[in-house]
C-alpha cells in the first residue's frame, strides 16, 4: 500500500481511523448496536435501554452522530422565529409546569387578539418567518378567539407561517367548537394555521400522566390529534418532557409510540426532548437535569427514532453551550432566535430569552457544521 498515491491512500487512512472509533464502541459493549446502526436496522426497546444505561457517553454520542450525519450531513438548522404565549390561564395545572396559573391568580394574564397583533406588528422590520403560538387550556375564551387570533396574525403579516396550538389545545378547541378534531383543524387551517408544535406530549405513560397531569389529554388522545393533523396534510413536531419521575422504560415506550405513529403517517418533522425545569413547579424538590442526561436524551432519540428527519437541541431549555455540543450528539437543529419565551423562564430556565441569529450561526460554525436558516417546513432560506 505504501506505493499508492495520496488520495488512494486517504481511503485506507480514514477506514483505519473509523475502525479505531469502532473498537472503542465495542469496548463500551455496544458493538451489536453499532452493527445495527451501520446496517440501518431499527433499534429495539432493549437496545434503547442499554444506550440510556451506558456509562460511556462518548460511545452513545458517537453512534447518534453517525445517524445524524447520514440523515443531515453537515447541515445544522435554525429558524428566525417569534414566540407568542397568548395566555397562561390553564385548567390543567400540571405538576411539572410553572407557567400555567388558575384564572384567579394575580400572575394570570391573557392577551386579546389586538394585543397579539400588536406583538406581531412590533417586529415587522425583522426577517421572521414563523410565529410559534402556545398557551394554556383557558376555561372560557371562546372558539372564535382562536380563529380570530390566527386571522389577525395573518392580517398583520400575511406571509408568516403560524405554528400554533399543541395537540392538547387542539383537542380543547374541538371540544369548544363541538366539532370533530379533523373539522376543527380544517377550520383552523382556513384561518391561517400552518403546522402544529410538539408540546403537551410530556410522557405518554398513563402512570406518569396520572401522577403529574391528570387533567391533561391522554397520550392516546395526543397521538390521535397528531395523526389526524398529518392525515389532512399538516406537519407537526413531537416532544418528551424528561428528567422528572419517569423511568427509562417509560421514555422508551413514549419514543416507541412516536415511532409507530410516524410509520403510519410520516407527518412528524422534528423530535424535541425537553429537559424538566423544577423551579416554581409542584415538583420543585426534584433536581435539574444534568448535562449527561440532556445529551443522552438527544442521542438515544436520534438513534431510536429512525423515521424522524430531525432532532432538536432546544437551547432555551438546555442552554446555548450544551445545545451547541448536542450538534455532535445527534441534534441537527437549534431552534431559533426565539424571543419572549415564557414557559421555560417561569420554571427558572437560565438562558437569555433571545439569541441573535449571528450568535446561532457562530455556535453552529464552531461546532463544525454548516449553518442553515430554514423555514418551518425545513425549506432552506439561506445557507451561511
Amino acid at each position: 500500500m505504501g506505493s499508492l498515491p495520496f488520495c488512494a491512500m486517504a481511503w485506507h487512512r480514514q477506514t483505519r481511523e473509523r475502525n479505531q472509533m469502532e473498537q472503542m464502541i465495542e469496548q463500551a459493549g455496544l458493538g451489536d448496536i453499532l452493527a445495527k446502526v451501520k446496517n440501518g436496522e431499527r433499534l429495539s426497546i432493549e437496545d434503547g435501554a442499554r444506550l440510556y444505561r451506558s456509562p460511556d457517553l462518548l460511545a452513545v454520542g458517537y453512534l447518534a452522530n453517525l445517524v445524524r450525519e447520514r440523515k443531515n450531513g453537515d447541515n445544522a438548522y435554525f429558524i428566525y422565529n417569534q414566540h407568542v404565549n397568548y395566555s397562561n390561564i390553564c385548567t390543567n395545572l400540571c405538576k411539572f409546569c410553572a407557567f400555567g396559573k388558575p384564572k384567579e391568580s394575580d400572575q394570570a394574564y391573557e392577551m386579546g387578539v389586538e394585543e397579539v397583533k400588536a406583538k406581531i406588528r412590533e417586529r415587522l422590520n425583522e426577517p421572521i418567518t414563523e410565529v410559534h403560538v402556545v398557551g394554556g387550556i383557558h376555561p372560557d375564551l371562546p372558539y372564535t378567539y382562536y380563529l380570530d387570533m390566527l386571522r389577525g396574525i395573518k392580517e398583520v403579516r400575511p406571509e408568516i407561517h403560524i405554528q400554533a396550538f399543541t395537540c392538547v389545545e387542539i383537542a380543547h378547541l374541538a371540544e369548544l367548537a363541538g366539532k370533530s378534531v379533523e373539522k376543527t383543524l380544517l377550520e383552523l387551517v382556513d384561518a391561517g394555521l400552518g403546522s402544529i408544535p410538539g408540546g403537551g406530549a410530556e410522557v405518554f405513560s398513563p402512570r406518569i400522566r396520572k401522577l403529574t397531569c391528570e387533567k391533561k389529554l391522554s397520550g392516546e388522545g395526543w397521538l390521535e390529534v397528531a395523526k389526524t393533523a398529518h392525515r389532512i396534510g399538516l406537519k407537526s413536531n413531537a416532544t418528551m418532557l424528561y428528567g422528572h419521575i419517569e423511568t427509562i422504560e417509560e421514555r422508551l415506550d413514549h419514543l416507541d409510540l412516536l415511532r409507530k405513529a410516524q410509520d403510519e403517517t410520516g407527518g412528524f418533522l422534528t423530535f424535541i426532548p425537553l429537559a424538566f425545569h423544577p423551579k416554581n413547579t409542584e415538583l420543585a424538590d426534584l433536581s435539574k437535569t444534568s448535562g449527561i442526561e440532556d445529551l443522552k436524551n438527544i442521542a438515544v432519540s436520534r438513534l431510536f427514532l429512525d423515521n424522524f428527519p430531525h432532532i432538536k437541541g432546544y437551547w432555551v431549555m438546555i442552554g446555548p453551550k450544551l445545545a451547541q455540543v448536542a450538534l455532535s450528539f445527534g441534534a441537527d437543529d437549534m431552534d431559533g432566535t426565539v424571543k419572549e419565551e415564557r414557559i421555560t423562564h417561569m420554571a427558572g430556565g437560565e438562558s437569555g430569552g433571545h439569541m441573535a441569529d449571528t450568535e446561532l450561526i457562530r455556535l453552529i460554525r464552531e461546532a463544525g457544521r454548516r449553518p442553515i436558516e430554514r423555514d418551518t417546513l425545513y425549506n432552506v432560506i439561506k445557507t451561511y
Binding site: 444534568s290 448535562g291 450544551l322 464552531e366 463544525g368
Partner: protein, 349 residues
Amino acid sequence: MQTIIDKALAGERLNGDEFLALAEKGDLYQLGFLANAIRQKKHPEPMVTYVIDRNINYTDICISACKFCAFFKAPEDAAGSVLTNEELGKKIEETKVLGGTQILLQGGLHPDKPFEFYEEMLRFIKGYDIHIHGFSPPEVCHFAKLSGLSVREVLIRLKEAGLGSIPGGGAEILSDRVRQETAPRKCSADEWIGVMEEAHKLGMRTTATMMFGHIETMAERLEHLDRVRALQDCTGGFTAFIPWPFQPDNTVLAHLPKTTAVQYLKMLALSRIYLDNIPNIQASWVTQGPKIAQLSLFFGANDFGSTMIEENVVAAAGVGFRLSEQEIRTLVEEVGFTPRQRRMDYSLV
C-alpha cells in the same frame, strides 16, 4: 491523523506539529476519545476530586491594567480597596466552618505596600492553621521588584512566613507577543516560568493555568503548553493544569466573541493529550457552568477544582456560575464517579 492517534494512545509524547495537526483536524470525538483514554490510564480509579477553598482577593488595586481583566481598579480609582485583617479573619473562619482546607490568596499588583505587608498577612492567616495557596508569579515578581530582592529570596521569605503553595494564575498565554499586546506590565513568560522553577526547587508545589480564546493563535497556545511541559520535565512540581476561556464582558477586549463550549472541550482534551507529564487536569465550572463541566469529565478532566466559596475575578467579567459542594458531588456522581475532597497536593481528606 492516524499516526498521531496511535502515538498518543500508546502513551508516546506528541510533538508540536502533531499537536497543531490534531488541533486543526481532530473532531470532537477523536479528541474526546483520546483524552478520555489517557485520563483513564492515568487515573484508573473511578474518582473525581475537588478542593474546598475560598478565593480571597486581598486587594483589587492593580498597576498592571491587563486588557482582559474586569476585576482590577487603577491605583487612582477611589473604589479600590485592601482587605483588613478583620475581614480576612472572618472569611477564613467561614471557610473553615464549611470544611475548607485552604485559602487561595491572590490580589492585584498594589503600587506601594511594602514586602513586609505580605509576610505579615501570611503570618496572620497561618494563625488560623489553614493551607495557603497564594501569590501567583506576577505578584511574586512584583514583590521582588518593589523590595529589590531576588525571586528566590522573595519565595524563601514567603515560605517562611507560611506560604504553602503557589497558584498558576497570571500565566494567561505564555507567549511574549500576546503578553505585550494584552498585559504589557505583567511579568514576561520567562519570568512566570522562572518563578515556578524556583518555587518547585524550594519544594513548593504549584498549578499552571492557561487563559485562552482572546488574541492568541493556536501556535501560541502550543508555545504555552510546551513551556509548561518542559518545566514539568525538569522539576515535576506542577500538580495540575487548568485551562479556561477568556470571559470578555466588562473588559477592554469586550468586543471579542466568547469561546464556545465545543472549542472549550476541544482545548481541554488537547491539554490532556499534550501534557503527558501533568497528572491532573481541572474542569472550569466557574466559566462553563455545571453541564459543560460535567461533560469535561469525558474530555480529559479528572478534577472539579475548587468549590470557590468566594470568587470575584470571573464574576467581575459577568459570569455568574456558583456551585455548592453538594452540587459538585452530585454532578460527579451522575457521571458514575466517586467525588472525593482533596488537598492542594491531591492527597485525599
